[in-house]
């Protein structure tokens, strides 16, 4: 019964959602809207669950002195500081438990949560993402080798797109007369993006769509049961 009841609920709700897409009238249309509302409420609780889980997992790793355990302390301390600042003094639009003093506001220029977010989190986050540029440059140098016809094609397309999607590309070929406009680098890049790229992407999307339908049916029909936990 422990597995059968959740499976029955899954089947019932899954079938109801599918039916409501084809019959948007009462009672199916209303039920589908209500279920959507429930999903939003449950998702809200899932955030709290995620935060508690983050705390638990980090504490376990610190207590067991797992590899790189000092980093988990930093994660927990940072998390606690942000949560405390947010709850105590609130954010730009949301009031906190205690009003922020003028002295503190003048000192930081923002509420503590917003100050940390703007001057620490944003910059750290952008830095992490920017590091990709360096690794991509190094990886491109090593990976883009014209070893065979396929890799040569990939290499040539990549060079055209890289040049065509920058201002250098249009500067390099801006002298080309209009009658030969198809040789203008941004036009070549647009062609590659619009036709070969889109064709490939659509093929991937269609396959992924079929995959989603297949796995959804497996869950609704009770063939796929991993979401119930256990083996």
């Amino acid at each position: 019964m422990k597995r059968q009841i959740p499976m029955l609920i899954t089947f019932f709700v899954g079938a109801l959602i599918i039916v409501s897409e084809f019959i948007p009238h009462k009672p199916f249309g209303n039920l589908s809207t209500s279920l959507g509302g429930w999903f939003l409420i449950i998702s809200g609780f899932a955030i709290i669950l995620g935060q508690l889980s983050l705390f638990k997992v980090n504490i376990i790793k610190i207590s067991r002195k797992a590899p790189n355990w000092p980093y988990f302390i930093i994660a927990l301390v940072s998390f606690s500081i942000m949560v405390t600042c947010g709850i105590l003094w609130g954010t730009q639009k949301q009031p906190g438990l205690i009003p922020i003093s003028d002295k503190m506001l003048n000192f930081f220029g923002y509420k503590p949560f917003d100050y940390i977010f703007k001057y620490m989190f944003e910059n750290l986050s952008a830095t992490m993402f920017s590091l990709l540029a360096f690794f991509m440059a190094s990886a491109s140098y090593r990976a883009f080798r014209a070893r065979n016809a396929e890799s040569t094609l990939l290499l040539v397309a990549a060079v055209f797109v890289m040049l065509g999607r920058t201002t250098i590309g249009s500067t390099l070929t801006c002298w080309i007369p209009e009658s030969l406009g198809f040789l203008h680098l941004p036009n070549i890049a647009s062609f590659i993006m619009k036709y070969p790229n889109t064709a490939g992407q659509r093929a991937i999307m269609i396959c992924a769509g079929f995959g989603v339908i297949g796995s959804s049916l497996r869950i609704i029909l009770g063939i796929e049961r991993s979401y119930l936990g256990g083996k």
Partner: protein
Amino acid sequence: MKIFERFLHIDRRIIFVLIFIGVALPLIWTLGFNLEVTENVESVYNLMEELEPGTRILISFDYGPSTKPEIQPMAIALMEQAFTNRIRIIAIALWPMGVQMCNEAFEKVSAEYPNIEYGIDFINLGYKVGGMVTINHMAKDFRSTFPTDGGGNPIDEFPIMKGIKNFDKLGCVISLSAGDPGLKQWVMIAHDTFGKPVGGGTTAVQAPIMLAYVNEQQQLIGLLGGLKGAAEYELLINKPGFATKGMDAQSVAHLIIIIFILIGNIGYFATRKKDTMKS
């Protein structure tokens, strides 16, 4: 031939240093390369231009600080165009940190438009968890999905929200997206299910995926792809900003990468020829 072997094994620290210099210098000294507006960016611009003054549009901030350098210039340019044309903006976020991104963009833009009032010309409804389900729920019952704005005030208090029960009274939907949930979900629900025109902006990495939706059915009216898309939009509204400046840095970085790819391939062919002769 030894030099060609060296071409194959350049220390990656050299690449890192050159990329750093290539990105940093153009940010300090503008090079001013030629910038052209592409069709996809122009389509988003035209979509906004064709809206009547007073029309309400929905902008979804589906990104965070990591992609701010690429997407925030788009948000600023779109807001500037909207406020110039007296178009009213209802902002939401499907990413938790999109709320702050929206507030920062509004703070920057509203300084130049003193007549813009919160609640009349602009509102930030805050973050809502749920992705695609949230969009679907908004389309059926907007007010129960967002009963308050980001500051916790009931939306009935704000004139901009008058009569908004679903997507019917919105001129269009713009999603500035760095992943999932984002532009793809807006296309699937707002356009494909409820027929609203959808435009958007994404990171350069995501643009090739989203381009498949810019088609004859106009699932996506247009697309601003990465920093270049943002720079093109700044050019269209005639307000060069961070994206225009950043394009020089990006262009030089791309050029450096291409030079290294060429060096690698020269080394590869030269040493391969040598190996073939030996064998």
